[in-house]
Amino acid sequence: MSTMTGKDKKFTEVAQNKENDTTINTSNKTVFETKDLNLWYGEDHALKDINLKIPENQVTAIIGPSGCGKSTFIKTLNRMVEMVPIVKVSGSIAYRDKRIFDPRYRVEELRTQVGMVFQKPNPFPKSIYDNIAYGPRIHGIKNKKVLDQIVEKSLRGAAIWDEVKDRLNENAYGLSGGQQQRICIARCLAIEPDVILMDEPTSALDPISTLKVEELVQELKKDYSIIIVTHNMQQAARISDKTAFFLNGEVVEFSDTNELFSNPEDKRTEDYITGRFG
């Protein structure tokens, strides 16, 4: 219990450093807006009345203890949650001017705009090149020269070009976990989405790979709106502009990251970020 204050202080420092960061985009456009979003896995009420506005060109972190619904929440944003057959959803989610549950809005179109990086790196068992080219190819880009350029640009964008440029035809499974994860990020960038959802993208990675991915997230937010689920509070404090704290399927608090970490409004948020539970 005595280490708590030290940990607390560290967060405050990190958060304060961010205040001097001039690159924070202050635009207040919204990419996602949820209204009274409720979700059930069978009888299990996993998300309860979620009302959130996710800003454009910022990094929004979703934090909370295991099982609080944070992963479920971002999987709902690109409707990947529907892979679970027993899911029921009520309420609405707007992605920009589209209602994502509107049957006229194709789920494939949504997922083309809203990319996703998963917890465990999941490259396809194909060459590095084919992994990146997969997305453009299914969306009708066949020209080899164009694909070559997309592959290079995406790999550069994911800060892994220099590591793999001489082995583009090798199987992506020959790479390390951290490299595989950046391949997955590059694969996501290749179709130039608008929003990138990241579901604990560094939880399976070593500290150095984690750092690389975090730096990458900072770089990417210039062009993309990023929503990142993390169980690592330091990570949320380091890389995000906004933070939402989830607990038992509810949003306890949602505000600017430095605000949330230095001056939490809710007692439960304070307890969580100071390590009293979770």
């Binding site: 690109n78 990947m80 892979m83 057959p85 494939e108 179109e109 949504l110 997922r111 083309t112 990319g115 996703m116 998963f118 465990k120 999941n122 490259p123 396809f124 068992p125 194909k126 997969y134 997305g135 190819r137 299914i138 969306h139 199987n171 499974y173 997955c184 694969r187 996501c188 179709i191």
Partner: protein, 310 residues
């Protein structure tokens, strides 16, 4: 509760009696190995018999005549032993069967693995496997008395016994094998990979075609090869429905004999031991064996060549 239970003492006491167990433990691998060797010895025994008798056959019929001869007249004064009529019969019936089994089996597998709900899959898969349990003689009968008459209404020139009908029925017989094994291969592709594709805006078909099938291609090819081997070795259906004409032809509406059907015919008749006719059985069996062996080696090569490691 008995508080006097002393587990440590009990274990120590049991240790003495466990020595026998330890000896047994050491014997187990040897016993299992000798059992495993039985099947290897059987294979070697069969191969040895085949080889010896085949060599005896080639002393009487030159090897070149056997493999290039288009006439097979095993009986009578001027017996001729060309294997080509049997080879074409076997190859054609197998090809016809694969034209049925591969597309239908693969599409069934795709449906079961990628589209069907759990409930549907749990009902359909066992039903499909019932098809695999039907005795081949029933299929043969079905080909001869049901499929051939129907085919003859469409194809007027079709012989009452022909290679087309048993080929098609053999294909139906093999569908469950292709479907079931391919489905196993596709289902074992981790769902994370499908999610990766879905998250890029891929449809289910694009995911199946470009991710799941390539990732499971080695298993799928393995299922094709097992099916081909099964078709090559299939006996009853062709024996019943394709007759015993030893035609050398590529016309699938005609009666043809396969290698297996020839063996049935000759063993069923009187082939005195030591006669050329008798030895020809072994030569044909050897050819059949080499055939399936080559198929298996080829398949292993192909599946290794196209394997996508994950």
């Amino acid at each position: 509760m008995d508080k006097n239970i002393n587990v440590r003492d009990m274990i120590h006491k049991n240790k003495q009696s466990m020595n026998i167990g330890r000896v047994w433990e050491k014997m187990v691998p040897k016993v299992l190995l000798s059992i495993a060797i039985i099947s290897i010895l059987t294979t070697i025994g069969i191969l040895a018999t085949l080889t010896v008798e085949t060599i005896a056959f080639f002393r009487e019929v030159p090897i070149l005549d056997f493999f290039t001869g288009t006439k097979l007249k095993p009986l009578g004064a001027n017996a001729e032993f060309g294997v080509l009529p049997l080879l074409t019969g076997t190859i054609l019936s197998t090809i016809i069967a694969m034209f049925v089994a591969i597309p239908v089996g693969l599409m069934t597998a795709v449906y079961l693995s990628e589209y069907a709900s759990d409930k549907v899959r749990r009902t359909l898969k066992p039903l499909l496997e019932v098809l695999a349990g039907i005795p081949t003689i029933v299929y043969g009968f079905f080909a001869y008395t049901f499929v051939t008459p129907i085919l003859r209404t469409f194809i007027p020139g079709l012989d009452p016994t022909n290679i087309l009908s048993p080929g098609l029925v053999m294909g139906i017989m093999i569908i469950p094998m292709v479907a079931s094994l391919s489905e196993d291969a596709m289902s074992s592709v981790p769902s994370e990979m499908r999610q990766g594709a879905f998250a890029l805006g891929a449809t289910r078909l694009e995911t199946t075609w470009r991710v799941v099938i390539p990732a499971s291609i080695s298993g799928i090819i393995a299922s094709f090869v097992l099916a081909i081997s099964r078709a090559i070795g299939e006996t009853m259906i062709v024996t019943i429905a394709s007759g015993s004409s030893k035609n050398f032809t590529f016309d699938i509406t005609q009666s043809m004999q396969t290698m297996t059907a020839y063996i049935v015919e000759v063993t069923g008749g009187e082939a005195p031991a030591g006669s050329t006719l008798y030895y020809s059985l072994y030569a044909v069996a050897m050819t059949l064996f080499v055939f399936t062996l080559i198929m298996n080696l080829l398949a292993q090569y192909i599946s290794r060549r196209f394997r996508e490691e994950y």
